[in-house]
């Protein structure tokens, strides 16, 4: 990337998006923040670059780490310094996750979020397919898992326990 190309705001924005978007979630390293939908926007004005990110959950402890990783990645690519801002609206939902992200998640052994879940029902039952053998004969072991965004399940067919990325 040459200095002349970077002087073009549109090209600069694309390049920042590409580099920042490749930063991975520290807790689910197979997913980039672009896959997750955590990267919301890149704004370029008067040569100043702003990267907007949104948390998956209010208390997501990975946000500080992700912001730092973005600054580092852009600095390394010669695109820094940038300002990383957290935005809350529109509120993140699992629908922000890309199809590619869902595939990567499953390949990693985490069941991707269901598209339609009975979250509103007080005692709704979700059907989650086992990411290992594909069986839908699964049961929730614990509604809260190793991170805010996951719950713990077990497959009754292949007996493997697995994480489920909660529909949110």
């Amino acid at each position: 990337m040459t200095g002349a190309a970077l002087a073009d705001p549109a090209a600069l924005r694309d390049e920042v998006w590409r580099v920042a978007g490749a930063v991975t979630d520290p807790e689910i390293p197979v997913l980039s923040i672009a896959d997750l939908g955590v990267l919301r926007d890149v704004r370029v004005a008067d040569g100043r670059v702003e990267v907007l990110i949104t948390p998956t959950y209010s208390g997501c402890p990975a946000m500080t780490m992700i912001a730092l990783e973005i600054e580092l990645a852009l600095d390394k690519a010669g695109l820094g310094p940038v300002v990383v801002k957290t935005v809350l609206a529109p509120a993140w939902t699992t629908d922000f996750m890309s199809e590619d992200g869902r595939r990567k998640l499953k390949a990693y052994g985490i069941a991707p979020p269901a598209k339609t879940a009975g979250r509103r029902a007080l005692f709704g039952v979700e059907v989650v397919d086992c990411p290992q053998c594909g069986s839908s004969d699964t049961a929730e072991i614990a509604p809260f898992g190793s991170t805010s965004c996951k719950s713990l399940w077990q497959c009754k067919a292949c007996r493997e326990p697995f994480d489920y990325f909660k529909c949110h």
Binding site: S58, C60, L88, P90
Partner: protein, 258 residues
């Protein structure tokens, strides 16, 4: 310069934000006290996860309060540098954990209120408030479900768990009236359509709590005298010790950073 206490420049909106943030922070802190003591490993993670959600909600509200106040403060200043009388949380959320039944009953009383409350607040013309609410309501919906399931298991469980669950419901009941209160300061925001009237959530709250208690074979206490004062900084004896622990580091070493 590092200081050990602050005086907030209050406006109705700042006061409102701090009260709601205090609810989330104090309840989240109570849940965090279970770390290392929960009845099962899964519940250890559940309590910590719910506490983390509440802490995140508190952070968003404090951060917005700092922005509205315009004195250059941060979320930490509000959390660490205000005394007990400046805290405006509900008496309900500062009540001690006692046992698992008491913790779940406290969570149900709060979550059954705050869940529809956040959804109502999403309609606020204040974009930041609406965004915070949109985020929080997804989390609170999950909390309602979790503590409802537990309360049903405890109430409809053994003689011991039933007795404890009923004692928990009865013991906390007098603190539920405050959920629906709004003082003159908040009434202005309600009249302007910025925030919902908490009293408008009474029917939704009662419906959820009644349904859960019935399923749990627990008796719904009769309406009676309700204790209030938390919103005005008049707290039970339990908040002081909690804040002592929460604020110890910043009070002892002002301005300390990791």
């Amino acid at each position: 310069m590092a200081t050990t206490s602050i005086t907030v420049r209050e406006t109705p909106l700042v006061r409102y934000l701090l009260r709601r943030a205090d609810d989330a922070l104090i309840l989240g802190h109570r849940l965090s006290e279970w770390c290392g003591h929960a009845p099962t490993m899964e519940e250890e993670m559940a309590l910590a996860n719910m506490g983390l959600d509440l802490l995140g909600q508190a952070r968003s509200l404090y951060t917005y309060a700092a922005e509205v106040e315009g004195e250059g403060r941060t979320e930490d200043d509000f959390a660490y540098l205000r005394g007990e009388r400046a805290y405006g949380n509900l008496l309900l959320v500062e009540q001690p954990n006692v046992d698992f039944a008491r913790t779940m009953a406290r969570q149900l009383f709060y979550s059954a209120f705050i869940d529809p409350y956040w959804r109502a607040l999403m309609a606020s013309p204040d974009a930041t408030l609406s965004a915070i609410a949109a985020k929080a309501e997804k989390e609170s919906a999950y909390h309602v479900r979790h503590c409802a399931e537990w309360l049903i298991r405890l109430g409809d469980g053994t003689a011991e768990s039933h007795a404890r669950a009923q004692a928990a419901v009865d013991g906390l009941w007098a603190f539920t009236g405050e959920l629906f209160e709004a003082d003159a300061s908040e009434a202005g925001l309600i009249a302007d359509g910025i925030v919902p009237d908490p009293d408008s959530l009474r029917a939704a709250w009662t419906a959820t709590v009644s349904a859960v208690l019935a399923e749990a074979t627990l008796k719904l206490p009769q309406a009676g005298w309700m204790q209030k004062g938390g919103r005005d900084g008049r707290h039970s004896e339990h908040l002081g010790p909690l804040l002592t622990e929460l604020q110890y580091l910043q009070r002892t070493f002002p301005g300390a950073t990791w």
